[in-house]
Symmetry: C3
Subunit: 390 residues, 3 copies
């Protein structure tokens, strides 16, 4: 093992990143080297963990989580990441009904950070809010550190916001890298990020937005497909177009699932709510207008039903390259006949890729740990190298 | 101290157990050597803890708890055990109303286990469900480990199910061992596991079932006593009969508290709900039939009242060997005149043994830690021995 | 740095304290040397933390928290303190509606303490209860330790009771010490602990009681000011009078905010509920009389409104020494025009001292850690000194 880890450490050591003393909020703000560094550090940590090598690089310190939406897998990924690096976990359990603003955010951010190394935040319910909130928290702890209030500058790590879901998309990228052999091998591979039917409503947009913004950076042929009206935040489509051009890949936007699946090497069928619905919902939630919210939900579910044929089934999979595309999902998937009557994916398709989706998810704790490491240490490769010589 | 610990380590090292990479679910599945190994490892850990010797045998890793029923003392015992061995604790807080089945269990089990060494589960509300659920979780992580999804195979530890409560009964056995001097000294000692009156309803059957299944294995004369109708799950009575025969002890089943107490060396008076009530209750809970549940509770409380004389009081204690049997309870006890008008035990009896019941409970963190150690390390005695030479 | 730390360690080592194997409940029970020892240990820990020196003096062990009232900043301070010293945190989440008494307290205190080093308790809702409850818990673990139930004697640390808030007031004292240069420099300085208007009701009395009881011990000129009727618990005024006499400071009690602010070096304007209201409220809460509680709240808020001019604004600050008194607050403050229409402090005043109040709060994790260290180690200075030589 050590030879391989040594090589990865050399690669990591050679990368220049601006992550130290900063946050990890949106992948599109980070340079290619910074993304590569996350993947490398995550892979090294995975290998050290498998070899039962102690990776507690912190003596003490807290990793504070703030989940403004329910979470199980991200919560455990965050706890695992913190534990791997030797940090204690403390959860900030806000009152869920009110979103704190202004002085409260600035103050609370400092009050929880006297020994915090990382603040992991999930805030994906209100469109136009989540990322803004993270910026507010980051500015607060930046001020606190600069003014000597905080002995260290905790890094804000985005555990899902209204725009991006970087810990998911980078775990997905790691999964692609391992499946196809390398990052370079992704060049020219077609990935279909498509909407899929679900009998639920209000699912965030962050996953599809994250996928099209990230995979276009590695020369992939990215196709986004959804029924008319199920639009994403335009900024993320701009990302995709721009990155595709830069990387020599492509970005296509269609409204036909079959078209997206045709000759695809990878498919990522997943439900989400239309952006305009999320905007309306955010307004109504803020106003506490429950009657109108119920009406909106009813409308949306009815509207969804018109697209019940957007299911990833055997027929659809047959259209992919050699009928053998890699199926991906961030989990939990709505599986037809298992978790619902009709859903995102047929049971037989899901079962074939079930363990693959578990493996995909398995990278997340290490991606988060990598973000913690890179934001908190100036020379992360050296810090990791010391672990080998203990 | 070290001499004693060295001797215990030698004894532990000499035992062959099949616990490594497995679960600890039911004591009656485990060999006598495996049970002895738990007791030895627990005793060693107790002594090391008293001597303030560092017992953190894990570099990192999570101990995940899943309490499907309320718990304070088991929760703290589990947290203490994890902390003793160097594991972080993460609690899986499921929605309490719905029991997850099928894909969800399989998936969640893996999602929380990427860095988990132990999954401690309490699921004792639904008769016929708890143990089944633990098997389902164990199969899921077994598959995950075999298929390379999980870097390690977390051990499922039963923190109380519908059938057994092994962490309690083994702590109880340790208490008996220390009170009477040794496991061998328990041979021929009479223990009365009896029902006792309580003004509450729906208490699980796992403690009496655990006690008759375990104490019969060590040559004790085990008497089970309860009013007509307060039956336990038949499988556990079969255990008791069979083990009594094998160990040269005995198992008697009576319906008279005084008969059970006569010449007893140990008494364990504790309330529980009749099996058929638990079955009905499980059905009604699943169906959400609250009116019928209220009716069932009313009937049960009335029925209980007919047996208000099943109280462990001074007169009853006078019937035991020399009037001086050891009183045991898993706590909290319903104490007449203290926690209720009429309950399981008279205040004067409880007060006499109060500190003993605390000592009894005090073994639980170490029993749980011993289970963690034996399921996760191939050579636990060597792992512990290394702690002495640090 | 080391020179300074060495000097502080020498000072700490020279102090005789009776804190080992005891609790930290009320500052007025502790000797001046014990208070000085807390300040010194906190300062040393702060410096070691800033230098990233490992301060985990415990191999393992739990710090158990029991918050009988909501808390964010104290919760995080406690978690930070535990983490700094190498303890795991476990929270005892009681049902909030019922206050446990008698056997339950005695039993639970032991059940959660088998590996506990510290029990941190916040219980400030019921006047006449909080401190009593802490004494009950302390007596229970004292008995448990004496009788061999507990391998160690966990220290009870008061995280706010009905009488005192020592972790706050000692953090405040540390802030004063650093602002004015030394404890000696506080001699003769005037501090105004004054009531201030807030559109809320039922705020505990513990902060003003803590401040007048503590600052009078260091030769400060302490003035307590509040509208007629907003009385504190008399015992704490007795403390203040007595300590002022002993220390050569003074204690004055007035009913005029401006009089208190005149030439003050420090101002601490903060809302609280009158003692008689807290007594009434405690009775009604215990009786579950929600209609009367609502009526009481209404009356109180109306009564508060008559004193809306008790605001710490620019005009009021202009009356202080050189118009430049240090403004203090335990946070969160009710800021006029920010968190409410009219509150304790004008926005412009608060903003000027905002970072100072953060710094004030920043001492709390280290004060709590110091209390843990001093109660659990016989020779804390030696324990800390060993950290430097690692």
């Amino acid at each position: 093992m050590n030879d391989n880890v040594q090589e990865l450490l050399d690669q990591l050591g050679a990368l220049k990143t601006g992550l130290h003393q900063h946050d990890f909020l949106l992948t599109w703000e980070r340079t290619p080297d910074e993304l590569r560094a996350v993947l490398l550090a995550a892979e090294i940590l995975e290998q050290l963990h498998r070899e039962k090598i102690d990776t507690s690089v912190f003596n003490s310190g807290l990793a504070v989580s703030n989940f403004r939406d329910q979470s199980t897998r991200t919560r455990f990924s965050f706890a695992s990441a913190a534990n791997l690096l030797g940090l204690g976990v403390a959860d900030l359990d806000e009152s869920k009904s009110q979103i704190a603003h202004g002085e409260t955010v600035r103050e609370t951010a400092n009050m929880i950070s006297f020994t915090a190394e990382v603040l992991g935040i999930r805030d994906d319910i209100f469109l136009g809010e989540g990322h803004k909130y993270m910026l507010e928290v980051a500015a607060a702890v930046e001020e606190g550190f600069r003014e000597g209030v905080l002995p260290q500058r905790p890094a804000v790590v985005n555990l899902q916001c209204d725009l991006d879901h970087p810990t998911q998309s980078l775990a997905d990228l790691m999964h692609l890298q391992q499946t196809f052999g390398s990052l370079d091998a992704l060049r020219g591979k077609k990935i279909a990020m498509t909407w899929a039917y679900s009998p639920s409503y209000g699912k965030p947009l962050s996953v599809p937005q994250a996928i099209i913004s990230l995979m276009t950076r590695f020369g992939m042929e990215v196709v986004l497909a959804h029924p008319e009206g199920y639009d994403l935040v335009p900024e993320t489509l701009d990302n995709a177009r721009e990155f595709a051009e830069q990387s020599g890949g492509s970005f296509t936007h269609v409204h036909d699932m079959a078209e997206a699946f045709a000759d695809a090497d990878v498919v990522y069928p997943k439900s989400w709510a239309p952006m305009h619905v999320m905007e309306q919902r955010s307004r109504l939630l803020r106003g506490g207008e429950s009657a109108k919210l119920a009406e909106l939900e009813k409308q949306c579910l009815e509207n969804n039903k018109r697209h019940v044929d957007w299911e990833c089934n055997e027929a659809m999979m047959a259209k992919t390259r050699g009928g053998a595309a890699l199926y991906m999902h961030c989990l939990p998937a709505d599986i037809t006949g298992v978790s619902c009557e009709a859903g995102e994916v047929a049971a037989s398709v899901f079962e074939k890729y079930r363990l693959d989706t578990y493996r995909e998810a398995g990278h997340k704790p290490f991606v988060i740990a990598a973000m913690m490491l890179l934001t908190r240490f100036e020379h992360p490769a050296e810090v990791l190298r010391r672990l080998l010589n203990q």
